[in-house]
């Protein structure tokens, strides 16, 4: 089931109409990364992100005892559905559970704002000998990200060339590049090479 072709109104209608296929594909599929991130940020009593999604699913669909309407029924599309779910879930967890401050704030997988500039990553890559570099690349769990790093920082192709070789649009490339870079750097730091 593809939900990328559905707009937020269609998804909301489907969830409210108990369309299990769309509900699962959207909440448990497409939104899994954001629920997983929130799940990992708090000491919830849900063992897995799926359990957290189950709970949020109930939270947004259970009718309020006074208004007799569910939270999802009252969603007015002023923001995206994913954003609403993110804020609602995080507010839910924030009020009920303690935050895993130490784990999350010191984790080695930071986004762009914590990463050195692209040039410094190139410089760091150059410092590694080829054997270390190969080991690091093999430790990258995502082969597509591994290839991106290889092309961009080992073979030193331009961003445009790398995107073309990977068959990506530039928008998709920049998104994947950020993620690949974070994955690569996380491993470098873990191996104390950065």
């Amino acid at each position: 089931m593809e939900t990328a072709n559905l707009n937020d109104r269609q998804i909301v209608q489907a969830i409210l109409g108990r369309d299990t296929e769309v509900t699962k594909a959207f909440l448990y599929g497409r939104c899994m990364p954001l629920f997983a991130a929130i799940h990992s940020k708090y000491y919830t009593d849900c063992e897995t992100p799926v359990e957290l999604i189950n709970e949020i699913y109930l939270y947004i669909l259970t009718p309020h005892r006074q208004t007799l309407r569910s939270r999802l029924e009252d969603f007015g599309f002023r923001c995206s559905l994913a954003m609403w779910l993110k804020i609602l879930t995080e507010n839910y967890c924030r009020q009920l559970f303690a935050r895993r401050i130490d784990i999350d704030e010191n984790i080695d997988t930071a986004g762009d704002r914590y990463l050195p500039y692209e040039e410094s990553l190139t410089a760091n890559t150059r410092k590694l000998d080829m054997e270390d570099l190969r080991k690091i690349l093999l430790m990258m769990p995502n082969p597509r990200y591994r290839r991106l790093i290889e092309l961009r920082y080992v073979e030193e192709k331009s961003n445009e060339e790398t995107a073309q070789l990977l068959g990506m649009t530039m928008a998709n490339y920049y998104n994947k590049h950020r993620l690949a870079k974070a994955q690569f750097e996380a491993i470098l730091r873990k191996e104390e090479l950065l």
Binding site: R18, M32, P33, S40, P63, E90, L179
Partner: protein, 136 residues
């Protein structure tokens, strides 16, 4: 299936000074004019709102599994349809959503003055029954 404990938990969640939807619209840059200024003012003075609008990294265990390393407040990481494994989704059983009646029944189990709706209904029923009995 929902239970009384979960229902209590849902009802214990306090409203934010700015509702989730409006905060979301603010983060996504969709607000204008006086509404924008008002939300800006509230966000600036409320730590919870600032935190909810923040970004944070994802731990390795999830980022490796999901290919997502950073939960950016403005550009939420959604999985591609192609990366969603339908077999995994098939294993998921959606929880059953309770009806209003079920919720009221759960409330009825432990009613206080504040939650007197179902008790009131029950008493009315009893009175009618008593009247009927008295007629005979």
């Amino acid at each position: 299936m929902i239970n009384r404990e979960l229902l209590d938990r849902f009802e214990s969640i306090d409203d934010l000074p700015v509702c989730e939807e409006l905060l979301g619209a603010y983060i996504e840059g969709r607000l204008r004019g006086s509404e924008l200024r008002e939300v800006e003012r509230l966000v600036a003075s409320d730590e919870a709102l600032q935190e909810l609008g923040g970004s944070y990294p994802m731990p390795t265990i999830f980022s490796t599994f999901l290919d997502v390393f950073y939960l950016d407040a403005r550009f939420l990481p959604l999985a591609d349809d192609s990366s969603i494994v339908s077999a995994d989704l098939n294993d998921i059983n959606l929880p059953t959503i309770p009806t209003i009646e079920e919720i009221q029944r759960m409330r009825f189990g432990k009613c206080t003055d504040e939650k007197a709706g179902p008790v009131h209904k029950f008493k009315q029923k009893s009175n009618i029954g008593d009247r009927f009995n008295n007629l005979t």
